[in-house]
Symmetry: C2
Subunit: 311 residues, 2 copies
């Protein structure tokens, strides 16, 4: 797809927007809501007092509080932007404040566990529609967000069976207003797709950076200097928020272990080819992986490296 | 380091420059030599007639030929830009054409094997000084190169013991004139450093893209769509030239197998932590890998992702 932009709305899509958790994603949602006029009022909560102060200083919300329930009160849309493992506790804390007809959503990278843990805590009359914007950077906190983070990125909705069609349509419209492309799938399929496109890559990146860190004969300074040979892309991924990623792996265990098993089998084959000098197997493997890359570039999900490097 | 540029020279550093192999690296060398006035004359050779025609069409060299020996004749500096596995054969082919006093160098990602295989073929009086610019993109061929590819990137020289100091100084000056930062080390240490910073990352990236390709329950189109979650960085690396990388793994076997062994041990620990829900081990591991990233960004070897994404 071509580079695009999200237009400012003449009228807000919802009344009060409550964002619980003001890190990279939460603060990007707040900025987008403000810049694009998506909500009549923005209420932001974070359990960390220093973060709410920063939210106030940055002018990201009309209300910044450490009380999630206070932020959620009277909101038409409440979005949980906390690590997956914290979603149930936050839902329990705000359940009493949720108005009938409100939409409760999240941005977690795992959906099955969220549905299982949060679903039973949602009061009757509140529409629970989990979501996952596939977007991010390696930075964390309220200063890291920006309004265009979701532009031209996919956002996956996993509405439970029998979800209110109007509520799903409104949430879809809300993400589309930020420039996101919305796709609907089941929580289980989401967790499988993300296990390979996101969770396993992160685990592998964290792992290789750890391996590099522990070498006796290559210094950390050498690793840093010569990282342009491929390593630096892994370090970017491995600089992502540790708490968020711990929770992802704890809550998408089965799919990640399945992908890890396949990855390790495949790696054993390449290892063996290297050990026995089987250049044909290596060349065949290295050739077929180019097709996926072409698909990603042509779909606008990345730019060729050359465009980034030329200067 | 800060963003910089390489100035155009008033006088060329050398007379005739011969580049053998006009792919990404060779054509970047030719462009840099032309733009920065580094050589009095540029002779380019490629065994592929279509490539030499393209070199002529692009005006990258004064001479474009399929004969490596013809290009090397009378050159003050000959740079082999062919896959590591082809260096010995090319050296044998040009040995008779090399003038006494000429510098023979290369750009291979492996140094020990090149020294072992090429060294004995170099005629007396010719200065053989292997080199490796740690720079590249996922693209190949004469159209893929650009003059600033080596700017602010490291170039590692591995001169043999007793190498002519003047020749080493000239080759260093030549790379510095293209904006590269030169470091000298032994071939064995080079191969160990690059095994972790470049070779293992490429193998892992090739591997995970292959794993994704083979899934039955996740389509290739889904992998492509949701690649922004981390996977796309791996696909870029896994789109690199298959022949070049086959040769790297065949010629740096011991160091790569050593790094692979450590990587697999470390991955077993993370896998076990996921299986048994050991969040503390995961969090501890994910936290310590951030330091290396900060080092890379502060050394100017990459930009924060946010700078690339904001638009």
């Amino acid at each position: 797809m071509a580079e695009s932009f999200a237009p400012v709305r003449a009228e807000p899509l919802i009344g009060r927007l409550a964002i619980i958790g003001m890190g990279l994603i939460g603060s990007s949602l707040a900025r987008a809501a403000r810049e694009l006029n998506l909500a009549g009022e923005i209420a932001a909560a974070d359990r960390d007092e220093a973060v709410t102060q920063r939210v106030r200083a940055l002018g990201l919300a009309d209300l910044a509080t450490t009380s999630a329930a206070e932020a959620a009160k009277g909101a038409g849309l409440v979005i949980l932007c906390v690590p997956v493992g914290a979603c149930a506790a936050v839902t329990a804390a705000i359940a009493g404040a949720l108005a009938p007809g409100a939409i409760l959503s999240d941005v977690g990278s795992v959906k099955g566990a969220v549905v299982d843990q949060v679903g039973p805590l949602v009061p009757g009359g509140v529409h629970f529609i989990p979501a996952h914007p596939v977007a991010g950077t390696e930075h964390s906190g309220p200063d890291a967000g920006f309004a265009s983070l979701f532009l031209s990125r996919w956002c996956i909705l996993t509405p439970p069976e029998g979800a209110d069609a109007g509520a799903v349509a409104l949430l879809r419209a809300y993400w589309e207003a930020m420039g996101a492309i919305v796709e609907v799938m089941t929580p289980a399929h989401h967790d499988l797709v993300l296990a390979i496109t996101s969770h396993l890559p992160h685990l592998i990146a964290y792992n290789i950076v750890g391996t590099a860190n522990d070498l006796e004969k290559v210094t950390q300074s050498e690793v840093i200097k010569f990282s342009a040979g491929g390593f630096r892309d892994f370090t970017r991924i491995a600089a992502s928020d540790p708490t968020m990623w711990r929770d992802v792996f704890l809550h998408n265990k089965d799919a990640v272990l399945e992908m890890l098993g396949r990855f390790s089998e495949d790696l054993a084959i390449l290892t063996r080819a290297i050990r026995f000098g089987d250049g044909e197997t290596l060349h065949r493997h290295f050739t077929r992986t180019r097709a996926i890359r072409r698909g990603i570039v042509s779909l606008g999900q990345d730019k060729p490296e050359t465009e980034k490097l030329k200067r």
